[in-house]
């Protein structure tokens, strides 16, 4: 269906090609996942499929990309629109109309289809993506996951045979991401669409992938093949795959179910090894506390009588479903608004009463949409602005940024960054003044595995240096690796509060992959298992 024949492509003015002698075949009805580190050329590869590369971007292309027999050399993107549908990271950026139904029809309007056909296809798209309840809703009122499903639906109405998605879940929280990925797998199975998908959340997609394309970046050769083979030495891998590599499982398991069926030898090797005991909750000084805090928005009670205390050196993961009060809790600590009743104290003071400058020195909040913090016109200007606003030495923020994400081009406009890069920049801006209390709302959105690993190290270092970190997250792997304490919220109430290992292992919803595979033993991460095996090997 998609065939790359010796394709080499370089952007105008670039000194080396982004795609270098790429040969790739994706068959009809295949779900092909493109993996690779950020900036490795995944997007370029995807955009070459519908001819945006090179017709939109400019640049030098040799070789040939064929889609359904049409060459992108001869057919510009507009003449491939009926074969290839393309969906990007941020659904809101692609919307043209205001209402779900109109948005679905807009693509067909451009293709000049008959109204009767349009009507029927809109109905089909509504059913396929489960959007029928939302058909008259304004797009702006939809959740991120719903918006992304509408964007996919709008592409589907052209009845393309190939769907190309560039990190469709990067801008979404994990719950919304699952919703979108579930819709996608359904499309593959029910309609037999050929799907080419770049994605960070591999643990969700790999079980369904027929093939994987590994883009190593730096001009290296592409590695193409069945998922279980390619993932053996991929630089980006979900915990399940890492566990499989560690245990030497062949073929590599791609779902928890596969792994459970292979696990007994590993369990035998781990007999006698004890998972690290629950990290004792640090007894540093209290940095912030909430006393019977209740927050109401109209009829909605977002927080209901919460008593919590956060100590220096803690990394607290606040978990719970969407709307359970996680973001409200962070907002209270950051002094965004005062409580309806009860008392919030940060460093012994009411955060709503602090001047902005004092507040920034005590509490740092990275919101879900990290772009909200960024208003400079380049990365460098943003860093300089942050140094200036908080009275730091010039270069402090840039140095922090270099630690989180090395090599971010300083002249890039913040809006031209990827979600993950933007988050790294926002983190640097907030972390630079080293506030004793750091609040993160869904900090791993759009981050790839290496970036996540760097974030984990950074948060660990901050906690060790005596900062209190509170993060609202759905990312259980992050919780497993860095959190010392877990707090679960439901309906605005604290329903669980304790050491992260206990909180996470007691609930199948919050259990990370490793814990699911090795249950009932409370192992959380691949690193723990590796250490235990090494100790065991030495002992044996």
């Amino acid at each position: 269906m998609i065939r790359f024949e010796d394709v080499t492509f370089s952007y105008d003015g670039a000194d080396r090609p982004t795609l270098d002698h790429v040969d790739l075949v994706v068959g009809e009805g295949e779900l092909c996942v493109v993996v690779g580190p950020t900036g490795s050329g995944k997007t370029t590869l995807l955009r070459a499929v519908n001819g945006l590369v090179p017709h939109f971007t400019g640049g030098r292309l040799s070789g040939e990309v064929l889609v359904d027999g049409r060459s992108t050399r001869e057919f510009p993107p507009r003449e491939l629109a009926d074969v290839v549908g393309m969906v990007g990271q941020n659904p809101a950026a692609s919307f043209v109309t205001d209402v779900v139904e109109d948005e679905l029809a807009y693509t067909m309007e451009n293709l000049g289809l008959d109204p009767a056909v349009m009507r029927r296809r809109v109905e089909d798209a509504l059913d396929l993506l489960g959007l029928h309840d939302l058909r008259y809703r304004p797009l702006g009122t939809l959740s991120g996951g719903q918006q992304q499903r509408v964007a996919i639906g709008a592409v589907l109405t052209a009845s393309p045979r190939v769907l190309v998605l560039d990190e469709p879940t990067s801008a979404l929280d994990p719950a919304a991401a699952e919703e979108v990925l579930a819709s996608l797998t359904r499309l593959v199975h029910d309609l037999g669409l050929t799907v080419l998908l770049a994605e960070h959340r591999l643990e969700r997609v790999l079980p369904f992938a027929d093939s994987v394309v590994l883009v190593p970046g730096g001009g290296g050769r592409l590695n193409v093949g069945p998922a279980a083979e390619v993932m053996v030495d991929a630089p980006v891998a979900p915990p399940l795959v890492e566990l499989g590599r560690l245990a030497g499982w062949d073929p590599l398991p791609l779902s928890v179910r596969d792994a459970r069926r292979l696990v007994s030898p590993l369990r035998d090797r781990l007999v006698g090894a004890v998972p690290p005991r629950t990290v004792p909750v640090p007894d540093g000084p209290a940095v912030a506390r909430l006393d019977r805090v209740t927050v109401r928005f109209g009829d909605v009670t977002a927080l209901d009588g919460c008593d919590l205390e956060f100590r220096a050196g803690e990394v607290v993961a606040v978990m719970g479903r969407n709307g359970s009060g996680k973001s409200t809790l962070l907002g209270q600590l950051a002094g965004v608004r005062g409580p309806t009743s009860g008392r919030v104290q940060v460093a012994g003071q009411d955060p709503t009463g602090l001047s902005p400058r004092d507040l920034v020195a005590r509490v740092g909040l990275v919101p879900q949409d990290a772009g909200l913090l960024l208003y400079g016109d380049s990365v460098a200007a943003e860093c300089r602005g942050a140094d200036h606003d908080t009275g730091l030495d010039a270069g402090t923020t840039a140095a922090v940024l270099e630690r989180i994400l090395p090599g971010l081009p300083a002249d890039r406009h913040p809006r031209d960054l990827s979600e993950g890069q933007r988050l790294a920049l926002a983190l640097a801006v907030v972390l630079a003044p080293a506030p004793p209390l750091l609040l993160l709302d869904e900090p791993t959105r759009g981050l790839d595995y290496p970036a996540k690993a760097r974030l984990v190290t950074l948060l660990g270092d901050l906690a060790a240096a005596g900062h209190a970190v509170v993060m609202a997250t759905h990312d259980v792997e992050l919780v497993a690796r860095v959190a010392t304490r877990g707090v679960v919220l439901a309906e605005g109430e604290v329903v669980a509060d304790g050491p992260a290992r206990d909180v996470v292992c007691q609930s199948p919803v919050f259990a990370p992959q490793v814990a699911k595979v090795l249950a009932p033993d409370p192992w959380l991460t691949v690193d723990e298992v590796r250490t235990a095996l090494e100790v065991g090997a030495v002992r044996g």
Binding site: F56, G58, S62, E74, D377, R415
Partner: protein, 285 residues
């Protein structure tokens, strides 16, 4: 015609469209200034002073259409059309809150940075389109429209011809240009309006065939008395807006231009698959 290397032209002016633009502009200029050039007491002048404006009103839109289509044929791709559409809509929207009270008419404020960043060809087309679109939405359609379109087109074209400067100097240059260009624009439009606007028997009326000097004198009086009170505040408003908002607007436009990769050439190296026939291309279009 060679475009300056520093800025990548979004609408490329090839030799054919350049000549067309030049000829059309000359005709347009005549359309504005014919009253000054009719001299002697020739019967032709007497006879046609009433219907001459209407000929230009009929001919100018046709000429504009010719120029636009020539430009489009040359190099307007989907990206340039999208940008033109957005900027023309923004420009037109700027005209809605500007009933012209005390000269607050910021419509040129966007046009000047756009012409500067995207080049003179784009500036001309954008000027023409902005005025056309804004007339549609403000109900300002009338015989004056083609003259306004021409004026704004020249204004955008001129912005694209300014010498390269950077930083603060650039903003001051654009602000100065905005003030001068707005005054010229106002004067030109008065010139079109003057033969009927001033009546026939005042001291600053157009007198067909009375000679250039006399008529020029009358026109300057007309211009001073009727509209400088409007044109000067408009020139100052636009210049002030450029000074205030020029930097961010220029930065936003430059970023759009960079992101859209205007002028980045598409090079398709030939494929040599031995023995395989070249794939069939689409029919023209």
């Amino acid at each position: 015609m060679v475009e300056r290397g520093s800025s990548r032209a979004v609408v490329r002016l090839r030799s054919r469209s350049s000549v067309l633009l030049l000829v059309t502009s000359i005709v347009g200029l005549v359309g504005f200034s014919w009253p000054l050039f009719l001299h002697g007491s020739s019967s032709v002048a007497q006879a046609h002073s009433a219907d001459a404006p209407w000929i230009f009103i009929a001919v100018l839109p046709l000429l504009l259409a010719v120029v636009l289509s020539a430009l489009a044929e040359g190099s307007l791709d989907a990206k340039a059309i999208a940008l033109l559409g957005i900027l023309a809509a923004c420009g037109a929207a700027l005209r809605i809150p500007s009933p012209g009270v005390a000269g607050f008419e910021p419509v040129f404020f966007l046009l000047i940075p756009a012409g500067r960043v995207m080049g003179r060809g784009f500036g001309f087309v954008l000027g023409v389109l902005t005025l056309a679109v804004s007339a549609l939405i403000t109900g300002g359609m009338g015989p004056w429209l083609p003259f306004q379109m021409f004026g704004a087109g020249w204004l955008g074209f001129g912005a694209g011809c300014l010498p390269p400067t950077k930083g603060r100097a650039e903003v001051w240059l654009l602000a100065g240009y905005a003030a001068v260009a707005c005054l010229l624009y106002g004067t030109l439009l008065n010139l079109y309006f003057w033969p009927f606007g001033a009546g026939t028997d005042t001291s600053f009326s157009f007198v067909p065939g009375a000679g250039m000097l006399h008529n020029l004198h009358s026109f300057v009086l007309f211009d001073l008395t009727t509209s400088l009170g409007f044109d000067i505040p408009r020139a100052l408003t636009n210049a002030a807006l450029v000074l205030l908002l020029g930097r961010p607007v220029l930065a936003a436009l430059r970023r759009a231009s960079r992101r859209a990769a205007f002028g980045a050439p598409v090079v398709l190296e030939p494929v040599g698959i031995p023995g395989a026939p070249p794939p069939a291309g689409p029919d023209a279009g």
